[in-house]
């Protein structure tokens, strides 16, 4: 017997075929439908924004790890790629290229690597970068090119506000929802993606397809996306029922803006969400509630990014106080 080739290690001796890399690439695959929609609507500019974001995220990850931190580089694990895509998806398609590069540096350099790299970041890197850009360059970050079906031109498109922006502004100037309804896209237009907004938040349908893929592949569980969307629907629904003239209906709130992108792709980020199912529900209720408060009463028309970042900060606390129920704690039983 050839004993020299024997391997000894502790159990278990087999491993499932799930790897971090596969999880990351599954999320990338799930984002493909939404990317195709944005290519269709924004043309080459959507491609440029996405490509620049991906390349600069990979570049910064490589350079910082190799020359600043002097550690092994991890650009092939898929996480920097994913950060790049998600950052691009949170930007308007006409944003200047240098801003994307600055955003990528913030995402990878500050939000991810300065915290210790993959797994140690508290905040979702793509969202940190988006909020950084939003407060630094408010004009460029909120002038949304109107989508043009089957867009092939490189010329500057007409810009306009997002549906959420139109509603917010209109209501502030005393218009009612009935008067505003002609200015905002219909629900089916929102669902298919024909409205102004970030690259990735266009089509609810495309995002839902990706979300379902993630659920089927068990990359994410239903707890965060469904709870978050339900919270938004219930809260906005209550206001709408009480005063339909001054509050938009819940379906509008679900499909306009970044609610679906946030629910399925941003809030579910494995690293920055709670580890228990109970914790995930609390986390998602918090995101939904903060989103609604910002949208209805805050200064910004959209609040998903802020809501997710605020709840990201609470994740360690949620993990501490919402532990799984230990086996053997319920000791009541009936003898027969």
């Amino acid at each position: 017997m050839h004993m020299e080739t024997i391997v000894v290690s502790a159990s278990p001796h087999i491993h499932s075929d799930r790897t971090s890399r596969k999880l990351m690439y599954d999320v990338v695959i799930a984002l493909v439908p939404a990317f195709l929609v944005s290519l269709y609507l924004f043309g080459i500019s959507a491609f440029i924004v996405t490509a620049v974001a991906i390349i600069s995220c990979l570049f910064f990850e490589f350079v910082i790890q190799k020359y600043v931190l002097k550690t092994a580089t991890t650009i092939s694990d898929g996480s920097a790629l994913l950060t790049g895509i998600l950052l691009a998806f949170n930007l308007p398609s006409n944003i200047p290229v240098w801003m994307i590069i600055v955003g990528s540096l913030v995402a990878i350099g500050i939000a991810k690597l300065s915290f210790g790299g993959l797994g140690f970041n508290i905040f979702n890197p793509a969202l940190v970068a988006r909020v950084f850009l939003l407060v630094s360059f408010p004009v460029q970050m909120t002038s949304w090119p109107s989508p043009v079906v089957n867009n092939t031109s490189l010329a500057d498109a007409v810009t306009g506000a997002t549906p959420l922006g139109i509603v917010k502004e209109g209501l502030q100037y005393g218009e009612t929802m009935t008067e505003l309804s002609s200015k905002i896209p219909s629900l089916s237009e929102l669902f298919l993606g024909i409205s102004g907004g970030s690259i990735g938040e266009m089509s609810g349908l495309a995002l839902l397809l990706g979300g379902i893929y993630l659920l089927v592949r068990r990359v994410i569980s239903w707890h965060i996306p469904i709870t978050m969307l339900l919270t938004i629907a219930v809260m906005t629904g209550i206001f709408w029922l009480v005063d339909p003239l001054h509050y938009a209906d819940p379906l509008f709130h679900l499909f306009a803006g970044g609610a679906i992108l946030g629910a399925f792709f941003m809030a579910t980020d494995l690293v920055t969400s709670p580890v228990t199912r109970k914790g995930m529900v609390i986390f998602a209720v918090g995101i939904g509630a903060i989103t609604v408060v910002i949208r209805l009463f805050g200064a910004y028309p959209e609040g998903v990014s802020f809501a997710i970042l605020i709840m990201n900060a609470l994740v360690p606390l949620i993990n501490k106080y919402f532990k799984p129920r230990r086996f053997g704690e319920k000791i009541k039983f009936k003898m027969v």
Partner: protein, 442 residues
């Protein structure tokens, strides 16, 4: 919907290559190495000397106390050595080495025993016979069976649970035994029910063994006290606590044992051994062992004499495959990797598994991505990622308060971790240190 335990669990590929292979008798080995610590508890005391002739079934080491049991000569022959030999734990343990005497063929194992249904003995005699004949839990824990059956004065029992789950991938020893010795096992169930003075038993079998479920259902049709339950396939359902939860929805309390919820659990192999001991005065000197692996030429199930070197079993199935591999005593989830094949089969050996090169090597460890999958699959409701980092940082006090000691070491966390983190390795280390800390506190 079939029943299963509620919390956690995983679905590894079951790879039961030998489910359709009838149990064969392994030829009597030339030499056997019989360790005197084959059970949990006090080791037995050797009562033979070198050069002494022994017959099959003769007591060669006597029970060292209440939580201990007799050990019998598995073969007829001559004691050649009383020596320390590395066993499956990786440590040197006291063994009795017996060279088989070819001439003495009065081998009681070779005799065919007809099915004997009437139970002539009372509870006390049954329990003492189980102790005398060296019966221990054959599911792997090797807890002396008479201790379980003697019961505790402060607890009241209502159910015997029969463990026919065999949730470890690859292993089919219990499955084959259930198919080939079903009626004997059912008599074994009745013997134990009589000894415990209870009138209810449930046989739990995972639904990947449909033939065994059907056979047991058919044979117990007219037995009002014995139920047979098919269970959803989910690892680690063969663990007592998970099995009780699956069948009765009762949770054994944190530091408790099955009797705390009115239950005694016995494995089907143990029940067959009890049947033979009580009905035919046969000591536990052999057991069923699955010898398997994807690269093994003729994987099979064998009746193997205790003390047989594992190399004998490997030779019988066509030898070791080429290249690197891992040799495992037990299943792929909880079995122990062996350094070589000189280790003897003991009462706790349910299988010998050879895992080939591509599976044997561990993959590169990456950062924890806090996906929570280990928390989700932990059947004990623990947080393996947290326990690992507490153990890594030597924060054993904190690990104790996070219930590290309730970990059953099923390995589900390490199995699912997408970053290939050695969760269970660290938790084992943490458990050991936490236990020492707990003892020093008290």
């Amino acid at each position: 919907m079939l029943r299963t335990f509620r919390k956690g669990g995983i679905h590894p590929p079951d790879n039961k290559l030998t489910a359709g292979t009838a149990i064969k008798r392994l030829p009597v080995p030339g030499v056997v190495y019989v360790p005197i610590a084959q059970h949990i508890g006090i080791p037995s005391e050797i009562i033979v000397e070198t050069k002494e002739k022994v017959t099959v079934g003769q007591v060669i080491a006597r029970s060292g106390g209440f939580v201990s049991t007799n050990i019998h000569a598995p073969v007829a022959g001559t004691v050649t050595k009383l020596d320390k030999i590395v066993d499956s734990s990786g440590y040197k343990k006291q063994c009795i080495v017996i060279r088989t005497d070819g001439k003495d063929i009065a081998n009681i194992e070779e005799t065919i025993f007809p099915l004997k249904k009437e139970i002539a003995l009372g509870p006390k005699e049954i329990i003492s016979r189980i102790q005398d004949y060296g019966i221990v839990g054959l599911g792997g824990a090797t807890f002396p069976s008479h201790v379980k059956l003697a019961g505790r004065p402060d607890t009241q029992l209502d159910y015997l649970i029969v463990n026919g789950v065999e949730c470890e991938p690859y292993l089919t020893a219990d499955h084959r035994l259930m198919l080939e010795k079903a009626e004997e096992i059912i008599v074994g169930i009745k013997i134990v029910m009589l000894a415990l003075g209870i009138n209810k038993a449930i046989v739990g079998i995972e639904n990947n063994k449909k033939d065994a479920v059907a056979l047991f259902k058919k044979l117990t049709e007219n037995e009002s006290g014995i139920q047979v339950a098919a269970l959803q396939v989910k690892y680690p359902q063969g663990s007592e606590k998970q099995l009780i939860s699956a069948l009765l929805k009762r949770e054994v309390p944190k530091n408790g044992l099955p009797p705390d919820v009115g239950v005694v659990v016995n494995n089907v192999g143990t029940l067959f051994a009890i049947y033979e001991a009580v009905q035919y005065d046969k000591p536990l000197t052999e057991r069923v062992v699955t010898v398997t692996g994807k690269k093994i030429k003729n994987p099979a199930n064998f009746w193997v004499k205790i003390g047989t070197p594992i190399s004998d079993l490997i030779n019988e199935v066509g030898g070791m495959p080429e290249g690197q591999y891992k040799l495992i005593n037990g299943g792929p989830m909880m079995g122990k990797a062996l350094k070589n094949a000189d280790v003897p089969v003991t009462k706790g050996t349910s299988g010998i598994l050879v895992i080939s090169e591509e599976e044997a090597l561990r993959k590169e460890v990456q950062n924890c991505i806090r996906c929570g999958e280990c928390v989700y699959v932990c059947p004990m409701g623990l947080e393996p990622h947290l326990l690992m980092s507490l153990s890594e940082k030597a924060l054993f006090d904190r690990a104790l308060s996070e219930d590290i000691l309730t970990c059953i070491e099923c390995g589900s966390c390490s199995y699912v971790c997408p970053s290939n983190r050695p969760l269970l390795d660290y938790i084992r280390f943490g458990k050991l240190s936490a236990k020492k800390l707990e003892i020093s506190k008290n």
